[in-house]
Amino acid sequence: MRALILRRLLTAIPTLLLVLIASFALMRFAPGGPFDGERPLAPETRAALEAAYGLNLPMGEQFALYLKRTLTGDFGPSLVYRDFTVTQLIADSLPVSLTLGGLAIILALALGLAAGTVAALRPGGWADEALMLLATIVTALPSFVTGPLLALIFGLWLGWLPVGGLGDSLLTAPQFWVMPVIALALPVAGAIAKLARAGLAAALAQEHIRTARARGLSTGAIIVRHALRPALVPVVSYLGPAAAGLLTGAVIIETVFALPGLGRYFVQGALNRDYPLIMAVILLYAALLIAFNLIADLLYGWLDPRSRT
């Protein structure tokens, strides 16, 4: 277990370093960046940038400075939102994205596991075929189609739910979250349903299930004690890619529903070349992905002792 965590962290460091170097290079040399002189900067911003990046120092020292500032969480000023630092922008918008993502994954797991289990209990039956076809269709629906579609039907035509924006908080104004969370969760739920079904059907076909039946155990005991853990393996293996999918999907959903989350700032930043913001977001997302993959690996080790070499 410890060896696994160590190995993961060792792999993570070069990745993050890679991202840092790439972002530094991009900032200093990319066209239209803050140092090109292409765009007019307010003198205060210019002064802040020069202080932050030490433009008169040799390149190696500039990078060291950049590294140090990043490690202390200081990403410098945003180029687009003049009065804010990148750190402030992130701090304001991250909770929205995290809530959105968190709710979406809970919904996706609930729907996906339920559908997958029902389908797996009678493989080849009509419930199986219908649910799996539905799951395939749902995974093929891009969120920028479902999002607007849901907004169209439930927002404009039926008027049940608000089309965009955010209320005060999740608890007081939940209606703003319903469609975004559903649109974000659906593709992931579909993938989880297919994996859960495959996992459970495969687990139930294994030889040790016959031994469990030979022991005269009840169906419930067989499924829970003997089939559940191997069945969850493909679902857990998917959690890493699922996190990635949620991150990218969140970008779209936040844009479509005008939610003030991190993804929307990223898109704005990308279109407006707000490099400090872009790089900070990428770094953050990379760290989140690595964390998610690590959690998935640890869970995987618990589910299947054979992988714990």
Binding site: A3, Q206, T211, R213, A214, R215, S218, H226, P230
Partner: protein, 514 residues
């Protein structure tokens, strides 16, 4: 008072009747064995009455006075839970991998309604099946135990709830030869101690005489012969029973005395050691082969005998130039032979592997497969020349020329192994390395391959390095034998002497198991 009785049992799957008219009786403490090649219906006969296989049963199956035929699954489950224990063939796949030994045992002990066993009771259960260090083993997962230990655990689980009847479906077939005797002896001992009845399914006929009271020989779903085990073992009457017994060499049977005399020394390995890097980030290297000396002469057949993990395949690969050598030297007729072989060197030694279908590229045709060595090792030949040699090779192994255009999928196990042997022979090698060449085959088919090898030995004077775990098989046509244990040679010499007077404990176990 009969414990278990089958009368006119039939098993149907879909609209095919796979087992017909089987009758047997087991009294408490008795062992009845079902023998036969694979596909004879013995597993179906033993498992179907209890609802553990795909078939539906007809006829009568009575367990302690209760009729099993026609019972719904819930009732069958209740009966299994209370009265029957099951031991399956592959303990690695038959035991749930994410539960520890202790969890398995506890579940089985409680299945008939008994109380949760404490640590002392669990240790006692493991000791009863001959497992040492029970406290340590209780915390292990099935994949962390050795093959023999796993099967003992499976047996402990099967008897934990004190069943009246134990059904063992090929309990030793997946184990190494030297373990088989011990596990069978364990089952017999438990039977005598507890008065349990045992229905044994096996194709290891050698052990049946000692461990079963009565034997039923099955072929194609029907019983062709039944009687006391001693009678059937020594004097089988039905043609199929006789063929089955002859196909399974045992040391009790007659051994050939006239093997062709060997010539000059061909291959010699001195101080052969092979080490592999350990798995994982911080693991130490593993020594698979430790300081082994061996030699093979012209026309000689040398057996390399040991259990799985003993390093025999690694030695075979090193000699055939297919595997690494860490320390030591291999030489051919006195000249050194490096692991990376030249074209001419490859012609001298050719391999035959255990799994015939896996040793043929599934996408190639038989004629291309056999011709492949010629393409690379005999560049002087034209396509016409190659085709001629391929035809000769097919004849040499008794294969119909029409099979030349077939793909491996269309071949049976025996045919596939013949193709593999033809491929090995086509470049006219002087030595074959046979790595468990008959272990994956049906006993009858395996016997045919052994007959083929003996013929090749006589007619072509090919030397052979025969890697196997089956001592009795090696005794059929090998001159000398080396016994391997954990990478080291524990005993070596002419095979007759080894059998008559085994010195090392490993050799003694091998002889006893045969």
């Amino acid at each position: 008072m009969t414990l278990y009785r089958l009368e006119g049992l039939s098993v149907t799957i879909g609209d095919r009747t796979l087992v017909r008219d089987v009758s047997l009786e087991i009294a408490p403490g008795e062992c009845v064995a079902l023998a036969g090649a694979s596909g004879s219906g013995k597993s179906l006969t033993s498992l179907s009455p209890f609802g553990l296989s795909a078939g539906r049963i007809g006829g009568s199956a009575m367990l302690a006075g209760q009729q099993l035929a026609g019972l719904p699954e819930a009732d069958l489950s209740r009966l299994r839970r209370a009265y029957v224990g099951f031991v399956f063939q592959q303990p690695l796949t038959a035991l749930t991998p994410h539960l520890t030994a202790a969890q398995h045992l506890a579940e089985c002990a409680m299945q008939a309604g008994g109380p949760r066993p404490d640590r002392a009771a669990l240790c006692h259960m493991l000791e009863a099946v001959g497992l040492a260090d029970p406290l340590v083993k209780l915390k292990r997962y099935p994949h962390q135990l050795s093959g023999g230990e796993r099967q003992r655990l499976m047996i402990a689980c099967a008897i934990a709830h004190r069943p009246k009847l134990l059904i063992a479906d090929e309990p030793v077939s997946a184990l190494d030869a030297h373990l088989r005797g011990e596990i069978m002896a364990l089952l017999t001992r438990l039977r005598h101690e507890t008065g349990m009845g045992l229905l044994l399914v096996s194709h290891d006929l050698a052990s049946l005489e000692a461990h079963a009271d009565r034997v039923l020989v099955m072929q194609g779903g029907q019983v062709v012969e039944a009687g006391g085990s001693a009678t059937i073992a020594r004097a089988p009457t039905h043609a199929y029973s006789r063929a089955l017994w002859e196909a399974t060499p045992s040391l009790r049977g007659p051994l050939p005395g006239d093997l062709p005399a060997p010539g000059a020394k061909l291959v010699e390995a001195c101080g052969l050691t092979v080490r592999f890097a350990g798995a994982g980030l911080f693991a130490r290297p593993v020594t698979a082969v430790d300081n082994v000396d061996l030699s093979v002469r012209e026309g000689e057949a040398v057996a390399l005998i040991g259990g799985s993990g003993s390093g025999k395949s690694t030695i075979g690969r090193a000699i055939a130039g297919l595997g690494p050598v860490s320390v030591g030297a291999v030489s051919w007729r006195g000249e050194p032979l490096k692991p990376h072989r030249t074209r001419d060197q490859r012609r001298w030694i050719q391999p035959v592997f255990q799994d015939p279908l896996a040793s043929l590229d599934p996408r190639w045709r038989v004629s291309d497969i056999i011709a492949e060595p010629l393409v690379h090792l005999r560049p002087d030949l034209t396509a016409w020349g190659r085709a001629g040699l391929v035809k000769k090779a097919l004849q040499l192994v008794d294969l119909d020329g029409a099979l030349a255009d077939a793909t491996p999928m269309a071949l049976s196990g025996g045919q596939a192994q013949r193709v593999a042997i033809a491929r090995a022979l086509v470049a006219e090698p002087q030595m074959l390395v046979l790595d468990e060449a008959t272990s994956a085959l049906d006993p009858l088919v395996g016997a045919q391959i052994v007959a083929l090898l003996k013929r090749l030995q006589r007619e072509q004077h090919i030397a052979m390095l025969v890697i196997t775990h089956y001592l009795a098989l090696a005794a059929q046509f090998c001159h000398r034998a080396l016994v391997l244990d954990a990478g080291q040679i524990v005993e070596a010499g002419p095979i007759m002497e080894l059998i008559a007077a085994p010195q090392a404990p490993m050799t003694q176990r091998l002889v006893a198991a045969s």
